[in-house]
Structures are given as structure tokens and as C-alpha cells.
């Protein structure tokens, strides 16, 4: 984009309007805000946030299916003491997804203290555990839904039904992106698309500009970025011919902003064809870096997730605003162990543990940690009692997540569950709070990032959300 275009944008384009919306001033009054058709030539142009941001980018490590909190980041010795006893004698048991309530079940894993903070992490996550001093663990998360799909929509969009904008869409709507040659919101599909499908990553009623671009793991990372032509020369010629005709059109019909934007858009698309392959080309990464992530692991799923984590770093390095990683498809897919918890959780953990720790270390080594917010979370937790003999059912009343990186106070534990890890009881934290905190770190006041739909100014945080001050630096 030329300086002239940039200036013209700021003068007339969507950038300035959105910015004023963000700044809370509406100089044109309500009428213009409604009548203006938002999409200017480059809706992803970076925009000034409400306040000085701590984080420039977000990497969201989505733990599909619901990791068991009492087996990962929330040790509960009482479960061992009362192992095998009837939970109904201990506390009120809520309706569960499978209605197959077994006895209280101790964790099959040992917990260890890590780092200066002495935070306890189970043996499922030895590598992440070693980074404990960088993590702010929230043990008191609650979700509104015990079913995957609704809980996924809730986690991703703040509303438990289909069709709402994903948090990545909200963030790029609010802030644009710092790299105009790559999408602003990228989902790295590790093999498992969550329940609820791609709508977890959509732009809902926000303009389509803000929907996620899905990168696959195959040879072609992103749909339609590979030129059809056997030589880039011929594509260039085609575009030249197209431009001639488009210019003649403008000569005939005069100044039409939308058409001019579309012409500009082709330039961007053309550049993306080059920047995506450059992004996914890992040949310039050192062997040491690759090993750090676990790309030499004997476990193919670890290798796969390691590649995704490395790509995530490369994306934020290039200024991409929001990156989400979905889980690899291990032999027991998702963290959704309704049976055989031990094997299933172990496989899933093995696939992600080293790559995640590698990502944290690599971000630090490159000075990106301070400007990248890393969120590790699933859609809900699991029951402290067994489902059947050796599984755990869904539990929306308590789960653990962690944050790291920009603006986060590492080595923190926030909130607590009851003695069984069944319900959050202290500093209960909602998904809305998580979203509010994330937006806050990005410099956005969550109650001022709105979009008018259905006659209402709608927010990612609905009418709720409190910033979790205690996890902030």
C-alpha cells in the first residue's frame, strides 16, 4: 500500500470510521455509522487500540474435548483418599452427558512442584511443567454448557449457539493485522476440527473479512494460494490484461469506491500467494529450533503439533494478530476420555507437551514472548468421579486453563475448586472474563468493542466480563 492510499484510507475509509467507533466518538452521529458500508479497501489495516496494548498477538492453544483438571493443573489429594467411594455421598452430583456416574477416581498421575513458584503440575505435562514460572494458571474456570458443541461456541464466541463471531474475528475487527500479506486470523488445523465445525472460527455477523483462514497440514497449507498457472509470468500477464480492462471500466463508470477496493484486493491476493509459501517454508529454521519443538520426536503427533507450534511462532513473528491451534488427531482423539482416561490423556498430552514448551521457550528466545499472549484452554473440565470404570465425564463447573506471555504474571495460581476439584469455589472465572482479559491485554476495552446486529450493539463479552487483574503483571 502506498503512503497516498494509506492517507486516503485514514481520511475516508473504513479505518478511520472503525477507529472512531473504537475511540467511542461518533462524530457522524448514529446515521453515518449505520449507513456507512464498512468494508473499505483493506479492513485488516492495523488500527489504534483504546489503550496501550501489552500484547500484539494471541496464540490460542485449544485443547479439544476438555482436559481433566484434577489430572493436570489442579491436584486433589482427597481423591486418592476417597478413591472408589460413591460421590453421591459426598456432594450433589449434577446431570452429566452420559448419565453413567461411577465412583470417585484418583488421578493416575503424580504431581510435582516446578520452578521457583513451586506450582504443581502432573506428570502428563513434564515439559510445560518446567515452564511453570511463566504460567498463570486459572483453576476456577466455569463454562455454561456441558455439551461440546455449545461449550466450544461459548469458548470461541462468547455465546453457546452457532453463528456468532469468533474471538479471533473480534480481535481482527478491532485491531486489524500488522501484516497485510497474510490473513489476520489464522487457524492451524492440527487434524481435529472441534465439534460445531468451522463455525467456531467464523466471523458470524461481522464482515467476512474477519473470518479465520484455515491452514491445513497437507502440502497445500491454505486453499487457493497456489497459482493455477505453471509460471508466475503468465499469471502476471493475466493480471496485467485484467488491470487494463478494469482501468477502462473505471474510465467509463467513474469513481466507484467498491470497485477500486476490489482492484486493490487483487494486489493483496497476489502478494499472499508468495507470502504463504514463505511462511510455511521451514527449511531456514535451525535443527536446534526444530528439536526444541520436538520435530525429531518418534511420536508422529508430537512432530505434527511441533510443526504447528513453530508455524504459530512464525505467524506472530510476521505480525499476524490471532492464531489458533487445533489438536492433532491421536489414536484416542480429543481430550474427551469418557473411558480409558489414562491412555487417552497420555497420548494427547504426549503430542502437545513438548511442542508447547518449545513454543514458550522459542518465543522467549526471540523476544516475542513479551508481546504474545499464549492461552491454553479447553471448553470445559472433567468429573472427579469416574464415568463407568475408568473414564471421566464432562464437567462445566470447574476446569483449569493457563495464560502466558504478554502482560501475564508468570508463576501465578488464581482461583480454586472444592476439595474434589468438582466445582470452582474461589474467584470463579468465566469465559467472558477470559475474553475481557485477552482484549484488555490487546489494548481493547471489552465493553467498547461493539458491532451493531439485530438492533443491538453486540460485544464479545455480551453484557458481562471482568478483567482478571490478579493474573496480570
Amino acid at each position: 500500500m502506498t503512503r497516498r492510499e494509506m492517507l486516503s484510507l485514514c481520511r475516508n475509509g473504513f479505518g478511520s470510521i472503525a477507529l472512531m467507533g473504537l475511540m467511542g466518538t461518533t462524530p457522524f452521529g448514529r446515521v453515518l455509522r449505520q449507513l456507512s458500508s464498512p468494508p473499505g479497501p483493506t479492513p485488516l489495516l492495523p488500527r489504534v487500540p483504546h489503550q496501550v496494548p501489552k500484547a500484539r498477538s494471541v496464540i490460542f492453544l485449544y485443547m479439544d474435548g476438555g482436559v481433566s483438571q484434577v489430572d493436570s493443573f489442579d491436584p486433589k489429594p482427597r481423591l486418592a483418599k476417597e478413591h472408589g467411594q460413591d460421590p453421591h455421598d459426598k456432594f450433589k452430583v449434577d446431570a452429566t452427558q452420559f448419565d453413567d456416574v461411577g465412583t470417585i477416581m484418583q488421578s493416575p498421575w503424580q504431581f510435582r512442584h516446578y520452578g521457583e513458584s513451586g506450582i504443581e503440575v502432573s506428570d502428563l505435562f513434564p515439559h510445560v511443567g518446567a515452564c511453570a514460572d511463566d504460567l498463570a494458571i486459572i483453576r476456577s474456570m466455569v463454562a455454561d454448557f456441558p455439551e461440546h458443541t455449545n461449550a466450544n461456541y461459548f469458548l470461541h464466541t462468547g455465546v453457546g449457539i452457532q453463528g456468532r463471531p469468533s474471538m479471533g474475528a473480534w480481535v481482527t475487527y478491532g485491531l486489524g493485522s500488522e501484516n497485510q500479506n497474510l490473513p489476520g486470523y489464522v487457524v492451524l488445523d492440527g487434524g481435529l476440527i472441534p465439534s460445531g465445525g468451522l463455525d467456531n472460527f467464523n466471523s458470524g455477523f461481522l464482515p467476512a473479512s474477519y473470518q479465520a483462514s484455515i491452514f491445513g497440514t497437507g502440502d497445500r497449507p491454505l486453499a487457493n494460494v497456489e497459482p493455477l498457472e505453471d509460471s508466475s509470468d503468465i499469471q502476471r500477464r493475466k493480471i496485467a490484461l485484467m488491470k487494463q480492462a478494469d482501468q477502462r471500466l473505471l474510465g467509463r463508470v467513474g469513481h466507484v469506491e467498491e470497485v477500486e477496493s476490489t482492484i486493490a484486493n487483487y494486489e493483496l491476493a497476489f502478494r499472499m500467494q508468495a507470502s504463504v509459501p514463505e511462511l510455511t517454508d521451514l527449511t531456514r529454521e535451525t535443527e536446534a529450533t526444530k528439536r526444541l519443538y520436538g520435530m525429531d520426536s518418534s511420536d508422529p503427533h508430537t512432530r505434527g503439533y511441533a510443526t504447528q507450534c513453530l508455524l504459530a511462532r512464525r505467524l506472530v513473528e510476521r505480525g499476524v494478530r490471532f492464531v489458533e491451534l487445533t489438536c492433532p488427531r491421536v489414536e484416542t482423539p480429543r481430550w474427551d476420555q469418557h473411558a480409558n482416561l489414562k491412555e487417552g490423556h497420555e497420548r494427547n498430552a504426549h503430542a502437545v507437551d513438548q511442542p508447547i514448551a518449545g513454543l514458550l521457550k522459542d518465543l522467549k528466545a526471540r523476544g516475542l514472548f513479551e508481546e504474545t499472549l499464549v492461552i491454553w484452554a479447553g471448553e470445559f473440565g472433567r468429573t472427579p468421579f469416574a464415568q463407568g470404570i475408568d473414564g471421566r465425564d464432562h464437567n462445566p463447573s470447574a476446569f483449569s486453563i493457563w495464560l502466558a506471555g504478554a502482560g501475564i504474571r508468570g508463576g501465578t495460581i488464581y482461583g480454586a475448586t472444592d476439595e474434589y476439584g468438582y466445582r470452582a469455589v474461589e474467584n470463579i472465572t468465566t469465559i467472558h472474563d477470559l475474553h475481557a482479559t485477552m482484549l484488555h491485554l490487546l489494548g481493547i476495552e471489552h465493553d467498547r468493542l461493539t458491532y451493531r446486529f439485530s438492533g443491538r450493539d453486540i460485544r464479545l463479552t455480551d453484557v458481562k466480563g471482568n478483567i482478571i487483574e490478579s493474573v496480570l503483571d
Binding site: 452427558q97 463508470v253 470497485v259 439485530s454
Partner: protein, 1029 residues
Amino acid sequence: MQLPAPHVLCRIALLGAWVLLLGLFSACAPGDAPVDLPERVDYNFHIRPVLSNSCFVCHGPDSSTREAYLRLDLRKAATARREGGGRAIVPGSARRSKVIQRIKAEDADKRMPPAETTHRLSAREIALISRWIDQGAEYKPPWALIRPALPSGSPRSVDHFIDTQLDANGLASAPLANKESLARRASFVLTGLPPSPALLQVFIEDTTAAAYERLVDHLLDSPRFGERWARHWMDLVRYAESKGHEFDFTIEGAWRYRDYLIRAFNTDLPYDKLVTEHLAGDLLESPRFHPVEGYNESVIATSYLTLGEGKHSPVDTRLDEADRIDNIIDVTSKTFQGLTLACARCHDHKFDPIPTSDYYAFYGIFESTRFAYTPLLSSRQQAWLDSIQSAQRSLRSSVAAAWNQPLGGQEPYHRAAVRTGLHPDKVSVVPASHSMPSATQMGAVSRQDSTHRWRMIGDFRDGDYDGWFPHGPAFESTPQRSLLITKRGQIDSLAYGMVSSRHLSPGIPGALRSPTFTLDMDSIHVVAAGHGSVIRIIVDNFQLINPPIFNGIQAKVESAAPSTYRFGVKLWKGRKAYIELMVGSFKLQQHITDIHRILRSDSSYVEAVYAVAFDRTAPDLSKLPRAPDATAINVGQAVDAWAADQATVSQMAAINRAVHSGVLPRLDIGSLLDLIEGHRSQIGDVHYIMAVTEGNAIESPVFVRGNYQTLGDQPVPHRFLSAISDDAKPFSGLANERLEMARAIVDPSNPLTARVMVNRLWHHAFGRGIVQSTDNFGAQGSLPTHPQLLDYLALRFVEQGWSIKAILREMLLSNTFQRSTQPTPEAHIHDPQNLLLSHYPVRRLDAEAIRDAILAVSGRLDTTMYGEPVPTHLTEFMNGPGRPEESGPLDGGGRRTVYQEVRRNFLSPMMLAFDRPIPFSTFGTRNTTNVPAQSLTMLNDPFVAQQTKVWAQKIMIMHDLDIAGRIQYIYLTALSRSASPEDIADGLAFLEAETQRRKLDPAAALNDIKLWAAYCHVIFNLKEFLYLF
């Protein structure tokens, strides 16, 4: 709008000024001195928008967030004396009005709106409010709730209203567009396709004055018209063919609703009928029938109610139901009334006069509505059914005649009664409501043993339906009381004491559903027999019954003799439910997405003896009190009564005894049965749709703050919106309240219905509605740019029998529609957004039009209409649970986009990139975005690549055309115009350079597919192809 005639022009000028202010204001910084205030300030057009945006959240209709006991939306309240003295608004004196004092307060703590909100009133807004108060603070009902009206005698045409406002603002209109543009524009607007070169030629060569009119009529008559406008409508009703959520289950027959819409728009079904069929097509006394197949057409419209998202295995069925109904209310109120009724789920509407009770009146109506697998019987099938019926009748009368034969002329044959007393005192079921009595209160408990609580839900032993609801031909509206059981073609006995779906024959579709009741016991037994059929307990109207938790409430019926089917319902105690006996079962062995599709075979049937709820032990019905024994039965009379289907249980028992004892002969009826079987085999496959049927009327109380666990005191009677039906009179209370709702919507006195629809038509014809917020005519919606035009069109719409085509025709024949897209320099400066329509707006084609145009241009378009959707083409990036087993064809079989499958979890990436909305709510207006994914699609998508080749193949073999001729052809086909000399020169240069680069022999180049594909690809990427001018 009711305005006295002299004011009209002034008003229009004033509105024009309002419109123009946009342009002026965008040039000045906030806080600048207000300029150009209207002479007469209008509440609806100037004041309400300001108050609604800045004040109503705390001082508006919603009492729950009201501050300082002050509301400013009602004149009486706003002008009342305040407790602390003074008045918020003193009509005639802004200076004395507290509102003004507070708005202008220097002290930030006193200033309104409060500092913590981000709202600031601009100087202009403050000046407007002041002038309005000084002029008397006249309030008006919301503009959209005032019935459309026009001053008498005003000239009436679209152009009149447009031109008046242009004149008032001193703007000239653009000249008319050239014929090529006009043909392209009209063709895309009406059919979603470019004009064929042939049509274009006819139009260009037709130099008569009526040429354009003929073109418009031709396009309106094209079958492509219905395909185009059905798709517009599908955006309103969140059309999809699967339920989304976890496994994306296919919705049975959803596509038939799409076909219904195409037929409706093509035949110009009057809009009032369309609305009525949508809400109550199942309740019409004289429904419409499909023109060829002859099945009930009207009922298909109700499918729209069932097309929402569907949750897999909800832990809380009641919450799930509340969300489902909320979506129905949302879609229904936006689509038909342009109101956001769903905003009143948790509190009174914050901006519009919609109390929460309005929401729950609608809630009750839809809570009483049951989703139902609905068989569609063609007239051919109906004829075979009729012939089975008459064959059954003649079978009975011949049997009766034969049986009466030996008794003829003799004394009547008396016989002591068989001990037939079979049934206990009947217990009827009380409909569910929120104050439903439990079983114990009903006194339906066996007195013998208080620990064994039980309750009869349905007792069919005397052959009637016991208040259950029959649906479909298997269970006619009057029950049949007996079946003839044969052995080797000979009569063996009468089967009775049950309801059965096979009185006519097995395989006849239908269902029998109980009244709604409260689940207050642990278990339900249904004693039933049948084959290939199901019994389901439908809890809180939840249909998608699956493991893990729901498997206990659905059973496949597979038993020739009555068996007990047991359902554990402990998990759902306290919920409302009904029992459904349905012919046909589910495709459990299929791919997971298909498990909620119905599977009916020729031998499917279901019959039931009784259904009972109980806690621990099922009652032993043999120990129940029996009916008094009959005394003496006259077998002759019994036979006659049986032949007329009026036999009592005792009479049928007597016939059986008579047959078994040889008094009545075991007649051989094999040949008659074969005949019936022959008829039945002609019925063939039965089509099903998911539609609705009526259950008991259930009234819902208000859910306090939207939470069903905190209920208001009183159930809200079913009624229409209080702001529209003045007295908010409850509906009749009969079980056809959706019909009453439909009537209230299409009532000519409803101020919204016609306006909302003509505005939608205008939106599609001109790219922007007269009210830009097409789905929201409330205070938070946009104001009409041309209120009188809107009213004119609304009145005209009703006058012309709600004809959509007539109104569209009028719009398209207007000069306004025919203008060129080029604004005058003045219009460009003073009305940059073209709100006054001095010229025709340029816009990008929508997703479907782009794909369809590519197919039309390449020659691949297959115009086959109707039928099952073409499966979605799945790319490697489309993954997740419920992924179909196989991908559909890349080119969608060449069919129009409206026929491509819409799976919620596998939406077409091309459609999404080009802004087709995600199907979850009403979208009368799509976003128009500009994303790299769009350019990348046109540049690199395999579909586009494939179609350029198809097109090139066609061009390659045009041996009688030279290169320039081919370029001409390409331009005519794709861009609806001839190529200019420059176009041709550029094309030649490109093709020549390519020929050289690839070192092709120039003669062979003419037949080189790659060469032409490259050129065609460029054409698809031209903005002139993607935009409508």
C-alpha cells in the same frame, strides 16, 4: 404516514435535508456549531433516534434498567412533575426542561448521558432536542407502527416520490442506462443470471417503446425467477439442510421447502398466502396442492419452523427447547414483521414497545407446536389409498352379507354375551401446562396399593384414540375399530382392543401422538405390536433422540403380538412430554448424518393397546375394574354394526366366538386381500418432510431474566403483539393459534407486514432498502429514506392482491431503476451515498450470482429444476464430525447454487467468502465485504479453473469465428455487451504474446485450450464481470 397535504412537500424537503446532512456533516469535526436545523423538528425522524441511542437504555421502555424513575419514551411520563420538583420536559420551553439542563450541564457529574457511558450528544443533537421542546415536544408513535397512508390526490408512481426528493435537494437524476446495461441489470436482479446472448440480441433489436417492458415480463416469467427469489427468502429463514451442532444431522426433506419456495415465487403466490402457509400451512382447511404430484403443498411451508440448529444430546432439554423457540421467534418476528422480538426474551425491549409478555405469548404458541415427520402423499398415492379404502369397505360388506346369508329369513340368532369386559374406568389425560396436576392429584392412582403409583396415558382397548392426536393417513381422524385376521386366506378372527396403523394396510404412513403431560413417574410402558416402526417419548419437544442419554426413550417396534416397551424417564422427571407412535423407523445403520431420516417400508406398521406411566411396578391391567358385562348380543346386529365400523367391543367378541364356534363361516377372502395388496404395492415410496403439527395449547409464563428456572406468576395467554393489536386480545384458545397469528400478520391493518416485504423487494432491486435495516423497523433500525414511497408501495402491494411480481415489475419499469450508474458531479458531492437514488447504485454480485454466472457463461449450467440437493463439494480443509462420506462434484453437477446442499457444518467456502450468511438467524441484508479470499477464489480456485476450461473448450471449436469474433462472443456472453476496439486489441495482444511465449503455431493457437482458458480466466476476474452496473 398520515400528514395533512400542505405539509407534504415541506416534510419531504425536510427529510431531504436530513439526508443531505450526512454529506455536510462528514466534512466537519465533532462539536462544530450545528448548521441547518430543520424548521419543524419531527419526533420520529429527528428526536427518537437520538433518545433511543443515548437515553432509552436507562430511561426507556425496559423498567428493569430504568434510572431515577424517569422514562423519556412516553410524553406523559417525560412531562410529569418530578418528585424533586421541575419537569424533565416542559413542552414549549427547552430552557425550563431538566433534560436540557442536564444534557448541557457543565459539571461532568451532572451531565447526561453519564460520563461512564461513551455516549456524548453532539451540539446538533442538543440543538434538535431544544428546538423540538420549544416547538411543543410532540411525540408520535414509532413511524413503522402508524398505518401506511398517502395524502389523497398525490400523483402515484415510484419516480414521483424519488424525483420529488431529488428536486427538493436540487439534484438532477442520471440519464437512462444503455440497453446492454439495462438488460444485464434486469436479468441479474430478476433471475440471478446474465442475459443470454440471444435474449440480449432480441432486446437490442427491438426498437419499439415496449421493448424493455417485454424484457422485464419475459424475465419475470422465467423459471429462473423463482430460483433467484427463493434464495433471497432462504436468507431470512436460516435455510439449511442439516442441524449443525456435533454431528450435523440431515433434516428430513428440507429441500422440499426450497422447492416450495421456487414454485411459490414462480407462480406469484400472493404474499398473504405465503405468510399464512409458513405459520399455519398444516392447519388450513383448504390447502393448496402440488400442481403435478398433488400432495399437500401448504404444509411444506411450515418446514421453516424446523430448520434451526439442532443440539446433539442436551443435558438440559428445557434450556434446549427455550433456545430453539427463541430462534423461531427471532426468525419469525424479523422475517414477517421487521421486529427484533427476541430482544424481549430477558427484559422488556429496550427501544421498541415490546413487553416481555409479547415474547412469551409467542413462546407459548411455538411451545404448543410439535415438529413432526410429515408424509406427503401424491394424488396418485392418495387415489390408491382411496381404492384400498373402498376395497376394504366392500370386503367388509361382502363378508357381512355372506355372514348374514345363513341367518336370512330365520329368527335372529341370539347368543349369551361373551365375557368381554376388558377395560377399566378410563382415565383421561390432562393436557400439560405449567400448572399441570401430577398423577396423584389427578386421582388416577390405583387405590389397591399406594406404593404402586401409576397413571394411564392412553387406553386404546375400546379402539378409540383416547384423546391422542392422529397424523397422516394411517390413523384417520376417526379410528377404525377392528382388523380382519386371516389364516391361509380364511377369516380367523377380528383383532380389536387397540389402535392400529394397518387398518387399510401395512406400510401406510402416519403417527399417533399423545396429549402433552408431565413426566412425574419413573417409567412408561407402552404395550404395542408392529414392525419397522418406532415409539418415542418426546421430552420438551426434543426430537434428535440419540445415545448416550436419550437411547432409553426411543424403541423400535418389532413384535407381531403385543409386547411391553419400557421407557425409563427418571432423568426427565418434571419435564413435559408426549408419546409418539410412528409408522417407520430411523436409519440407524446409515452414516451418522442420516440417523434422523425416516425409513418406512411396505410392511411397516404399529399398533398399541395402552400406554401407562408408573413408578415401580407396572399395573396389572387384568386386575383393573372391568366394564359391566354385556347381557346379550345379537350376532346379526353385531355383524351389521361391524360392517359399518360401529361395533362395540362386546359385539366384536361375540363375532369372534361365533366364528370360532362355527356359527359364522370362515370365509375365504384371499382374492380380495390380494387385490388390496395389489393396490398397496402401487403406493411406492412416500416422501417425508419435517414440518409441524398442533399439540395441546400450552401457555408459558414469563421467564424472569430469560431464565426458565425462575418463572413469572401467570401463564401468558396466546395473543399477537400488543403494539399492533391494540387490545392485545388473547386468541380464541382453540388449537389453531398459529392460524390466528398468521391472520394478525396479514391483516391489512397491520402496519408492518406489507412495508417490510416491499422494502425487501426494493432492497434486492436497488441494493439497499428504503429502510436500510431490512430486518429491523424498530427504533434501532434505520429510518426510511423515502417514507411516502414506502407507504405507496405497501398500499399498492395489498391493493394488487399481494402480488410480488406486480410490485417488482413496477419497480423495474420505473425510470429510477433504469438510470445509469454515473452520478452528476453535484450528486457525487452532496449525496455521496446515493441515498436519494439520483443514479443506479453499483454493487458486487452476490455469491450465488457469481457462481451461477460462471456456469451460465461457460455453458456448463444445467437448468434442471428441483429435487434432492447436490452434495457439497468437500475440500481438504473441510473437516470435523459429521463430515459426509463422499464429496460432491466440484462443479455441483452444473446446477444452480440454490440446488447445492447447505450443510451447517460444511458450508461452501466460496459462498462464505462472498458473504452468504451463516444460517442461524434472519439476514435480509448481507454484508458486502472485500476479502483476499474472494480474489484468491477467482484466481486460483479449482472450480473457476475447471469452468474456464469448459468455456475455452466451447470457444476453441467455433471454427467459423476468427479471434476477434471469438472475443466478441466472449464479451457478449460474459459481460452482455460488445467488445470495444480497445478490448479486442488488448485481447489480441494478450493471445498473441501467449502464442509466442508458448511457441505455438499461430494456426494451431486458434484451437489451443490452454490459450483460450487463460483468456477466459481473465474475463471471469474482470470487475465488470463481478459487479452489476
